[in-house]
Symmetry: C3
Subunit: 477 residues, 3 copies
């Protein structure tokens, strides 16, 4: 038996803290005061179905840790493991591996790849905390760990609603297509369960005209909104109708991806001309880019009117690997960042709406060079702006350190939006918040020991970073 | 009474040093040997009027710490404080808050925003050192601190000339428009006071054709130079005349802002054609960019001829927030950096003049990615180049660390230009130099403890960084 | 006598390690286990002539440390030392300094310029280890050190083959033009010496149509390949012939420079049209860029067919200083990096060949912003990709730290290619590997102390970084 339930490196009480004893001492105290605060989760990708059905299960160890997690899949694929062998479903239905024990073995054989990665840290944390597995996964312990995890997953304690409560989640926001009827959210409300799960309005598939299958998404918009979307004006009305519905269902925010942060106003006639070209399948790449840039401005206008917080995260070139996209679809780890220009890109939007006290616009980046050069200077001036936490490839110990070190001197912490876990891996939520709270405590301890802030200030800032800032930025009561 | 004049965090003798005791010990020794060196201030924005009149006053606490400081104003504005409530004058004369005690209260209520920022560190240092105020500013101590600062400001010790001497300023360079008759500098000379205050020639408003009010600035150039500037040739003559006057008045350097570092030679005919279009108000954005790129080359030529050190700091998109610019004018915290390309941008200038031993060109950046990629490689090759210190958003503890860590391995310290405070806040000058000297000592201590340099080398380098490099780069005797 | 052969800072057993005693202790242990591993040198620029002749000499101290080393030359030139005074030969044969003792004195006088630079560290290491010179070079010890180094260089121990064995080099790959007949490699084989020295196929001068003297290089290609290269089809055949020859001579890899990472397929007709324009001297800059982008794809295709590992390092604007290039030629320290876009640039190549398990493509960058934004995300997905180590301006203590901190969280260490010394300075090879092994041990120790990995994992990773990864990435048996 290679599994050892004793505490290990993954659960060391001082994990992630700087080596210096003076920093470590202060960090431990600051972290200790925030470790048990409720989790505010204003941005993420948990499937609301898990929480709609009180008997829902997290599935097998492979369902839980491997198949849906593009961080895991991408690393294994990069080292020559076939997507098929990992059970990733093909779009054309060609068969893939279905024996989850075999998939788990493959994962265990390659677990060393994740050494030093945040994915490795989160998984080690989950294995130790939830499943009592302290040793790193290896080929040798693959079967034993598969069995142990499977057995634990079968217990009622591992049902999503039980975990939601055990994790002390105060509020969890999901991400939902503009065309989603929010049936799972309605079921959660109807069930009388007290967990607070809110939808987030994400209209990318109808706003970005080059979305694969755009016409079908547009048709779905007509259907869910009850508005026959035949031109730009009715498109706007349908979006307004959906936003109102999402807000009624408790939504706090909207969420927008765009390849670049470019914004710019079109006249209604220009917007309609592009829209009509898109309906005929004739929209060019430039049409799509200009339309997205215009619609981001429209989204800001609507946010001012309805009070939904607006989130924008540009800079990912989606589906970089066309063969993988053709065979397995999106979200398989092949979205690759590009350099972006927030300063010039957002200028039209900020000039039109950036001084309006009713707007909150939270920005995320995949281009860390923009932290110090563009985002912190912008957020340290425009009243509408808040900076989202380090995200995607950067929600890691070093990513957080770079964020604190580069953003705060210019923008302060009060122009940030705290933390969010941005995850579809429900089980990883506590580990992600724990990493953030430790990273924040450690960074603040460094400021205390350097005599830049005092301990009382640090304690207040630690609380804000762990809890207060996220809640206020998203206007969550 | 919430004010405590005892030493606090802001004045801790080890402030800003790394936590490790061995680094801290060496840093303390290195800093100790440079802490009392005279301050060389080759680039800044202090108003020479303050030093022209021996009875000049620094004004109220709000005049001193808030109204003219765009770092302070931008942070407060970003958190919803109106510019009007801070007493920022409007361009159209609409009334704003005039009661400085109320402005001070607003500042104290929001002082926590500056936690972890260099502005927060400088102000804490000034409050402790000059005014004996050790506690952080809060709503509760707003009135008491206002009174205490006001009382101190009324004493003769707080007159600018007295402070200049107390601060041990060896030389202070101001920044002055090309069209400035330098009356205050003349008054300083005439007064017989021994303080060394030198003008710096900054011709941006006539060189950058898209400067708001360019025609009026051109007219002023004709008047101060006594040359009727009607074409490109006379424009050049007028600039040469002004440079000669500035040099006669003691100027060591010129200073140039440009949106990008692009340079390129125009023929005299092209230059004149653009100049004539500008006079008619017909110059395009491209005209302006090409003219600036050409004039930077002309400035290098003139520097070779007259020996003035040339400074260039591209990369700020000025007045990003048009509504703020319309209502309150420039320098209100709405200048936002953009990515720049020094490698290709400066190639024409460097190929024409970069090997000439008579030229010194000091480069500043707002795009930290250029430190390692472009600036250090360029400065480690071209004899004319020196790198200015971290600047504007980056004259902070982390900004300095990144600068040392990224620049020195490639360019060495001897291709840098030491430190300058770049400030219009006269009272903050010692705090800024102190931060630099501490950051430099701390960085050098890390090299000593890692056995990369020895203590004698570190001591020599600390002296150079604190004093020698700046003086030599600007050819200050 | 100012030379002291006792251990000094440059050879302190803890050099380069973090100050914290706990990190230092673990780093020392990890380093200790890798310090004596054989040196795998899969990418470098050592002249194979040195190893072809068993009596070859490294020349004078100036030949060894100054004249051929563009890191040294550029730093001295940047501080006003003339290239002529350093003995850099002119292209037109105009005389330069020939007295090597004078050149050495100039170097010693300016040795302080290298404080804190990797060049300074390597040289200090070589002086201490090979020549028993522990004190920094100064004007005062110039003559004594010149004599001591000269005397040592005259001993048989300092012959290149003796050093190769003493350095414990397991394999050394040189870099050789596609047109090179590899006479020195043939001589090494013929000599029966057991040292393993492999050629690397570098076809830049024929692939990049804007190479100065392209037509002559093309003519040389015809001659060495025995294929009359008159069109695109024969050009491809000649390259295939040369690759086969290099492979027969033991080559493991190809090596490609390009100003940008842009790739894209041309039709054979388009490729031939550009090729014919180049033969007539009519190719435009755009022609050359498109042809290079196409040929990189052809090189990937050939690598799939013949198994040679492909290396690509874009992003240097070569010969930035035209006057220096005209007078002294290339590789004089005037190649300056530019920003690059790997994400979009490599997409055509990766979409065509990136999922093929036969391809290994090792990427190097001079734009550190691409580590986290582009390279780690790409290498953490595409099975063909491996990331080369920090390189050129970044093979330094800080460069390595930034590389580890930015790359590994996303790509893991197993998508990196270990270390290579990339040097033409044969004598510096051990010092460079030592720096890497120390930097790696130190970085791993930080992970151990932060409880991110355990000591057994760290020991395994240290071995991989020092030895295993480089060997496997280059398919060296």
């Amino acid at each position: 038996m290679t599994i050892n339930p004793a505490p290990t490196a993954a659960r060391h009480p001082d994990r992630y803290f700087d080596p210096d004893p003076s920093v470590r001492g202060v960090a431990r105290a600051l972290y200790g005061a925030t470790a048990h605060l409720p989790l505010v989760c204003p941005h993420g990708h948990v499937d609301p179905r898990l929480l709609a059905d009180e008997h829902a299960s997290l599935g097998s160890p492979a369902d839980l840790f491997i198949i849906p997690d593009h961080y895991v899949v991408r690393m294994l694929y990069s080292q020559g493991v076939a997507m098929e062998a990992l059970g990733i479903p093909t779009r054309n239905g060609e068969p893939v591996e279905t024996e989850h024990r075999k998939i788990w073995r493959l994962f265990c054989e390659h677990f060393h790849l994740f050494r030093g990665s945040p994915t490795g840290m989160w998984i080690a944390d989950e294995l130790a905390t939830i499943f009592g597995i302290a040793a790193p996964l290896t080929e040798a312990n693959a079967d034993a760990t598969f069995d142990q995890i499977s057995a634990t997953l079968a217990t009622p304690d591992l049902r999503p609603r039980a975990l939601f409560e055990r994790f002390n989640v105060e509020v969890l926001c999901t991400t939902d297509a503009a065309t989603d009827p929010l049936a799972h959210h309605q079921a959660i409300h109807a069930s009388g369960w007290s967990g607070r799960v809110l939808p987030t309005f994400r209209p990318d598939t109808v706003i970005n005209l080059n979305t694969p299958g755009w016409a079908a998404h547009l048709e779905a918009l007509s259907q869910t909104s009850g508005i026959d979307v035949g031109d730009y004006a009715s498109f706007i009305r349908a979006l307004e109708q959906r936003r109102a519905f999402f807000k009624e269902m408790g939504a706090a925010a909207t969420d927008h991806a765009a390849q670049t942060p470019a914004t710019g106003m079109l006249s209604p006639a220009e917007a309609d001309a592009i829209f009509q070209r898109a309906r005929k399948g004739d929209a060019t790449a430039e049409d799509a880019a200009r339309f997205t840039g215009h619609m981001l401005m429209e989204m800001a206008r609507m946010s001012i009117e309805d009070g939904l917080v607006m989130q924008l995260h540009p800079g990912s070139l989606r589906n970089h690997n066309e063969a993988i996209f053709q065979r397995f679809g999106g979200d398989r780890g092949a979205d690759i960042p590009i350099a972006v220009d927030f300063t010039r890109g957002l200028q039209p939007l900020l000039n039109r709406y950036g001084n309006d006290p009713r707007l909150t616009l939270i920005l995320f980046t995949l281009d860390e060079t923009t932290y110090g050069r563009e985002l912190a200077p912008l957020a340290g001036h425009y009243p509408c702006l808040r900076l989202g936490p380090p995200w995607w490839f950067y929600d890691s110990l070093n990513g957080m350190r770079r964020y604190f070190d580069t953003v705060v001197e210019t923008a302060g912490i009060y122009n940030t939006a705290g933390f969010n876990d941005d995850t579809r891996a429900f089980l990883s939520i506590p580990a992600r918040h724990d990493l953030w709270r430790r990273a924040a405590a450690n960074w603040l301890a460094g400021l205390v020991i350097r005599h830049i802030i005092d301990e009382a200030e640090a304690a207040d800032m630690a609380h804000e970073l762990a809890y207060g800032l996220g809640k206020r930025a998203y206007k969550l009561k």
